[in-house]
C-alpha cells in the first residue's frame, strides 16, 4: 500500500509540475490543481497510513489511541482543499480576464511567434 500511495503522490506531483511549466494558462491551471491533489495526498499520509480505523472517537475503545487514525492531518487536508479550491477559482477568473484582455491564452499574454 505504501508503495502505491507513494507512487500516486509522485506521479501527481511530477505531472502537476510539468504542466505548471507549460506556456498555456489552461495547462497551468490543470498543473496547479493536480499538484495540489498530490500535496493533499502527501499531507494525508503524514499521519501514517492506517487501515480500518476511523479518526473519530467511538463510544467503545475511546481510550485506546492505537485503534484510531490520526485526525489532525485529515483536518489539515480539509482546510487545504478548501483554501486551494478558493484560490483556484480566483485564478480561473484572472485567467479568463487575461484571455479577454490579451486575446491569447499564453501566460505571457503574447503568442511566441509574435515576440
Amino acid at each position: 500500500m505504501e508503495l502505491i500511495f507513494a507512487l500516486a503522490v509522485g506521479v501527481l506531483c511530477s505531472a502537476g509540475i510539468w504542466l505548471l511549466l507549460r506556456p498555456r494558462t489552461f495547462q497551468v491551471v490543470m498543473g496547479l490543481s493536480i499538484l495540489s491533489y498530490g500535496v493533499n495526498l502527501f499531507l494525508f499520509a503524514m499521519g501514517r497510513l492506517k487501515l480500518d480505523s476511523a479518526p473519530v472517537l467511538a463510544a467503545k475503545n475511546a481510550h485506546e489511541a492505537t485503534k484510531y487514525a490520526d485526525p489532525i492531518p485529515q483536518a489539515l487536508v480539509l482546510t487545504a482543499i478548501v483554501i486551494g479550491f478558493a484560490m483556484l477559482a480566483l485564478f480561473l477568473v484572472v485567467m479568463i480576464a487575461s484571455r479577454g484582455l490579451t486575446g491569447t491564452d499564453h501566460v505571457d499574454g503574447v503568442e511566441e511567434d509574435e515576440q
Partner: protein
Amino acid sequence: MSLSQHLPILPILLPMLTAAALAPVSEFRRNIKVTVGVTSVVLQLIVAIALLVQADAVSGANPAAVYLLGNWSPPFGIVLMVDRLSALMLLLTALLALPALVYSIARWDRVGVHFYAIFQLLLMGVNGAFLTNDLFNLFVFFEIMLAASYGMVLHGSGTARVKAGLRYIVVNLASSSIFLVGVGLIYAASGSLSMSEITLLAGELSSSNYALLQAGAAILAVAFLVKSAVWPLNFWLPTSYGVAVAPAAAMFAIMTKVGFYSLFRLWAIVVPEDAVAGLQDEAHWIMALAAITLLFASLGMLAAQDLRRMSGVNIIASTGILLSGLSLGTNYAWAATLFYLIVSTFVVGALFLLIDLLERIRQFGADMLAVTVEAFEAQGMVLPEQEEIGVSIPAGLAFLGFGFVLCSILVTGLPPLSGFLAKFTLLVAVLNPAEGAVHWWHWVLMLLIIGSGLTGIITFLRLGIRVFWVPESHARPHLRIIEAAPVAWLLILCIALTIWAGPTMGYLNRTVATLSEPHASAKAVLQSTPVAAPGETSP
C-alpha cells in the same frame, strides 16, 4: 477577563470585522468606507502600541501574552503569542498601513471596487502571521494575506495588472504547495504543529525523525524564501509590485518582511538546545543565497530604466541584506538586521508613494503640455494662463525633490540618516562573526552590501536627473495634503529612528535576547493554563 487580556486577538479581529462590515457597503457611500477603514487602522495602531509596551514590560525570555484560542490548553489548541518581535512587527504594520490607507483616499481607492475591505483583509493576514504560534495556522494566515494581495495587485485592472497578477498568483499557489509539504513533514517528524512544542521536542527526536524535521524545515524555508523574494525565487517581484497601485505596493513592503519574520521563527524551531554550532552549514547556505541576491539586486538596479522597477529591485536588495544579517547568527547581527528591517520597510513604502507622485509630473508633464500648446498656437490661439489650485509649484516640486533625496539617502545607506546607522551596525556585525575569525566570505559579503549601496546611489542619481532635470518644464504637481502627508509621515519616522536610534537598538537587543533563548519562551507558552469558566475556581 479584562480587555487588556484580550489585546492579542484584536489585531486579527479588528480588521476582520471591519472587512466584513465594509464589504456589503455600496461603493457610493465612500465617506462611510473611509471613516470606518481609517478608524480601524488607527485602533490597530493603538493596540499595537499597547502590545509593544506590554511586551517590553516583561523581563527575561517569557512571552508577554499567550492567548489560547477557544480556551484549549496548549499544545492542543491554537495559541497566539506576543513577544517583543511580534509586537514590533505589528507596530511596523500599523505604522505603514496608516499612511498607505490615507494616501489611497486621494484617488486610488476609486479605480476598483472593495479596496477598503481588501486592505483590511491584508492587514488581518499579516497581523495573524505575526501573532500565531501554530504552523498550520501560519499557513492559513499566509493564504489570507496572499488572497488579499491578489486583490490588491489586480486593483484597478488593466492588461498590465492582469498579466502580472496571473504570474504572481501562480508563483504563490505553487509556493503554498511547498509550504504544505514542509508543514506535513514537520508534523510527521514531531507529531505537533505548535511551534513551541516543536522547539522543545526537536532536541529529543530520534536521529531519523530529526533528519525528517530538518528536511521539513528546509522545504518550509523555501516557501518563506519565495515570499521574501530571495534569488532565484524573486523574478515575480519587480513586475507585480511595479504594476500595483501605489498604496498597495507600499503595503507590499511589509509582505516580504512576513516571509523574513517566519524564517526567524523557523530558525528557533530547528535549533536544538545545544546545537547552535551545528547550524553553521545552514547559515552558510543562507549567506550564499543572500550574497547572490545582493549581486542580482545590484545588477538589476543598474539595469532599471524606471523608478517603479528600481524600487521593486530595492526590495530584493533589502532582502539580501536582511538574509546576510540572519546568516551571521550573532545577537548583535540580528539586532542590526531588525533595525534595518524597520528602516527599509518605511523607506520602501515612502518610495512607492513618492514615485506615484513623481509620475504625475512626468505623465502630464512637458510632452503633453508642449503638444497642446502647439495645437492651439497653430490655430492662432494663445492658451490662457490657468489659475493654479492647491499648493503652488515651488513648494510642491521642492517637496518631491526633497523627498526623493531623503529616500535615496535612506535606501542606499548614506550618512547621516537611519539607513546609514542600520547598514553600519550590520557591517560591524559582519566583522564580528559567531565563529570568531573573519573569513574571506565575510569580506565578500561586506563588499556586496557596500556595493549594493553604490549601485543604488548611481541609479538614484541617473533616474533623478532624468525625472527632475532633463525635462524642459514640469507639470505643476497638485499635491494634496492627504497625498503629501503620508510620504512625509514615513520619512519623518525614518528621521525619528535616526534620532532615537539608541532606545530602538536597546529594544531590539532585548528582542534578540529573547529570540536567542527559544526554549525558555517555548516552555512558558506550553505552561500557560486555560481560563477558568465563570463560577469555577482556576486550577
